[in-house]
């Protein structure tokens, strides 16, 4: 059945990613290990967006906001730790840290709160309004990051020492890939579990038929809002990892181009497929690296290729690998 085919395609894809990283490491090519980490992290961000967009039917054009907030949470906390300046002195003192797990916790909290606020406003509307409003709020955070001078403003913020993870040397490219890949697997497992749960059933129906959902006694709004928040938290986690990968955060992580790219990952991979965004991110990063390395007209080629996918090849990569989507 299609379900098993999708499962096989997903496992093969993830194994190929891990295998590529291992192979590059064995060949002494840290550049390609980092490329695999980039795929895993961008895929993770896409998995987050997919929960809202592919499964919940909420076309968010503002997920860069959460990606960037996660990145800034990481950068700012590390900056305070590096400069031995407390983040807060009142009402109690809060020090920075250079450990990944607490940084991820803060990133998740910040993104969750931001998503709750943005979602509460934008989910009052639907369709094209929702697209424009999520875009606008992401742009608000982008402009704020540019004009707020404390953390680098337009120039961004460097993370001079990569944050640590208990028991691992995070400067080792393969270890860092392991962390990113582990995060991706956790997010995939959580998403898969979530979609099979009662909440997932409600979220799916909020996309397929909100009238039916309300008639079944379940208010669509809190279901959508919760889905939006979880989606943002996962994307924010990816942002924190991305900041550590690059040793740098800047407003670019918040830009609407990035929101668009996240949507591209989801659609290129196949809407509503759990592992689709990873396939999309892999295709994107590979094209960017190899086509982008060969010609500076790469955005033109990407644009035309995307047009082709939208107009003629719906279903994306996973659709081609695993056949038509099916529900039980």
């Amino acid at each position: 059945m299609d379900k098993t085919r999708e499962m096989v395609a997903s496992v093969v894809l993830l194994a190929a990613l891990a295998g590529a990283a291992l192979w590059a490491d064995a060949a002494g090519e840290p550049f390609y290990v980092n490329l695999a980490s980039r795929v895993a992290i961008l895929g993770l961000a896409g998995v987050g967006l997919n929960l809202a967009l592919g499964f919940g039917g909420m076309v968010s054009f503002g997920h860069a906001a959460f990606f960037g907030l996660g990145g800034y949470a990481c950068g700012i906390i590390a900056w305070h730790a590096g400069n031995y300046e407390p983040i807060l002195t009142w009402p109690f003192e809060v020090e920075g840290t250079d450990r990944m797990p607490p940084i991820w916790g803060v990133a998740a909290l910040v993104c969750g709160l931001a998503a709750a606020a943005i979602g509460a406003l934008s989910l009052r509307t639907s369709g094209v309004y929702f697209i424009m409003i999520t875009l606008a709020f992401a742009q608000m955070i982008y402009w704020f990051a540019i004009s707020w001078p404390a953390y680098g403003g337009e120039d961004g913020l460097s993370i001079y020492v990569r944050n640590g993870f208990p028991g691992l040397d995070t400067y080792d490219a393969l270890s860092f890939f392991g962390i990113a890949f582990g995060a991706l697997l956790v997010a995939l497992a959580v998403s898969g579990r979530l979609l099979g749960s009662r909440f997932g059933a409600a979220l799916t129906m909020a996309r397929l038929n909100p009238v039916r959902l309300a008639t079944a006694g379940i208010d669509p709004f809190p279901v959508r809002l919760t889905g939006f928040v979880i989606s943002a938290v996962i994307t924010g986690w990816a942002g924190a990892l991305y900041a550590d990968l690059n040793g740098f955060v800047s407003p670019t992580m918040l830009s609407w181009h990035l929101s668009g790219e996240l949507i591209v990952f989801v659609i290129l991979g196949g809407v509503g497929r759990l592992v689709g965004p990873v396939a999309g991110a892999a295709a994107y990063v590979l094209l960017e690296t190899f086509v982008g390395g060969a010609t500076e007209r790469w955005p033109l080629i990407l644009g035309l290729a995307l047009l082709g996918v939208v107009l003629f090849a719906r279903g994306g990569i996973m659709g081609a690998l695993a056949g038509r989507a099916r529900h039980d």
């Binding site: 509307t125 697209i131 424009m132 033109l300 939208v310």
Partner: protein, 306 residues
């Protein structure tokens, strides 16, 4: 704050608002009539600016450039509509978003290819150079006043077109009932292409005029596009009147906020900090305005559909 500064800033706000209206009008019409969300609208704005700067630079005539910029944007819009967008009217918004995002990439890289990576510069025409003195004593550039005048003129023409002509009647019919307009025997495909070209031409006209105030470069349409979205959310999707009111509101609030907030904070902060905090908050002001409108009237100030 002096009276002169106040008048100057209000005029700047109105000028920004008028430009936003010209951009938002096409976007909201296209959404109202065809149900299409077009992210590439900012690229048409950019097309107008580039063609205007290039033609004006080659021929030495700003006016030729202005006309060429608007026409080129309209033509580019018509071509894009016929080649790509008309296949998307019946698709969901997600496909429309992705396809028009792809168009932005094509337009931006295309412009970089054709006009080179350096920004172009466009001078305001000699006839509109210089300044007039305002009440309070400040001097205000004539060119900016001309933009306000041209924008209001275009708004009036658009209003007359929609409410007084056969084409406008068909546009209004298309907004309320697509099947009826087919039954009237109107060629709906041609109508859609015309509406799209009209919106694109307005955006190109706006881009061409703004080109003399700033550098003409790739990506210049994108901030305008997002402000136009804010305008449409505030005004109500599909409503040209809403776009006009929303555009002026956004233009004036944004401009005044950037002046007043840093001044206000300097009353109780050191000036260097006040300008930073004030500027950061001012950059968020119109989005706060949008959020306020959403809470108060989720369908915008002038909902076009029911």
């Amino acid at each position: 704050m002096t009276l002169a500064l106040l008048v100057e800033q209000i005029l700047n706000g109105v000028q920004l608002g008028v430009m936003l209206f010209l951009t938002a009008a096409g976007l909201t019409l296209v959404f109202g009539v065809m149900g299409l969300i077009n992210l590439a609208h900012g690229s048409l704005f950019m097309t107008g600016a580039f063609v205007c700067a290039w033609v004006a630079g080659t021929t030495g005539s700003f006016w030729l450039g202005l006309g060429a910029g608007a026409l080129a944007a309209a033509a580019a819009g018509a071509v894009v509509e016929m080649l790509v967008l008309r296949r998307l009217y019946d698709r969901d918004h997600l496909d429309q978003v992705l396809a028009t995002f792809a168009l932005i990439l094509v337009f931006s890289e295309g412009a970089r290819w054709i006009f080179g990576p350096q920004p172009l510069w466009l001078d305001a025409p000699a006839a509109l150079s210089g300044a007039v003195s305002l009440p309070g004593g400040a001097a205000y550039p004539i060119y900016r006043l001309a933009i306000i005048g041209a924008g209001i003129g275009a708004a009036l023409l658009l209003w007359a077109l929609i409410s007084r002509t056969r084409l406008g009647m068909r546009i209004r019919a298309g907004e309320s009932d697509r099947e009826m307009i087919g039954a009237l025997g109107v060629d709906i495909r041609t109508l859609y292409t015309l509406v799209f070209a009209l919106g694109a031409g307005l955006a190109g006209f706006a881009g061409a005029m703004v080109g003399a105030l700033q550098s003409v470069q790739v990506g210049m349409g994108e901030p305008v596009l997002i402000l136009a979205f804010v305008v449409i959310v505030i005004g109500g999707i599909g409503s040209v009147k809403g776009a006009f009111v929303g555009a002026l509101l956004v233009g004036v609030v944004d401009t005044m906020g950037r002046v007043l907030l840093p001044m206000g904070f300097s009353n109780f902060m050191p000036p260097s900090e006040a300008s930073g905090v004030g500027a950061a908050l001012a950059s968020m002001l119109i989005y706060v305005l949008m959020a306020g409108v959403l809470v108060w009237r989720p369908q915008g100030l002038f909902p076009a559909h029911g």
